[in-house]
């Protein structure tokens, strides 16, 4: 499947990160956890 584009998450510095930018150059293992706990 193709990953949807335009999604944004936030880093530790509260800066927005465009998810598309994460897999432009190399593969990524994207782990969605249920929550922080």
């Amino acid at each position: 499947m193709e990953m949807p584009s335009g999604l944004v998450a936030y880093d530790r510095d509260q800066q927005p990160v465009l998810l598309d930018s994460l897999w432009t150059d190399c593969p990524v293992v994207l782990v969605f956890v249920r929550h922080f706990g």
Partner: protein
């Protein structure tokens, strides 16, 4: 507890993930200030992000709910996680949200997809690593 267990599995595999030229990224859904506390024990080679609106969770069809009959497996998963030393701390984020794993090739094609049915339903680590395109 299950979140920490899932991250622990990825942490164990992280050297092999990097050897294959990939990067591990963990996304949660708690408020931004809680991200720092959650990510603090882990090396900075793993990128931690949060999606407080759960927009990515919805876009990727990650499940929300207890998992119906499949939630019975949570007991076994809970015992497994507890025995491995993982403990439940205060939940920061949506307690009904389920997680998942995507291995994404350069360009944006997901070559491995696992959507958790219930808490503790994690993909096998070797299957995740093997899916990384070389």
């Amino acid at each position: 507890m299950f979140c920490r267990e899932q991250v622990a599995h990825i942490l164990e595999a992280e050297p092999e993930i990097r050897r294959r030229g990939a990067r591990a990224i963990v996304i949660g859904n708690g408020a931004v200030p809680f991200l720092e506390a959650f990510a603090e024990p882990y090396p900075e080679t793993i990128l931690f992000l949060t999606d407080p609106d759960r927009a990515a969770y919805r876009a990727l069809n990650l499940r929300r709910g207890m998992g119906g009959l499949k939630s019975v497996g949570m007991l076994t998963s809970g015992i497994r996680a507890y025995r491995a030393g993982h403990r439940q701390s205060r939940t920061q984020g949506d307690p009904l949200q389920q997680g998942g794993i995507f291995v994404v090739a350069p360009g944006g094609r997901a070559v491995f997809v696992h959507r958790s049915e219930t808490a503790g339903d994690h993909a096998e680590t070797h299957a995740i690593v093997d899916a990384i395109p070389l």
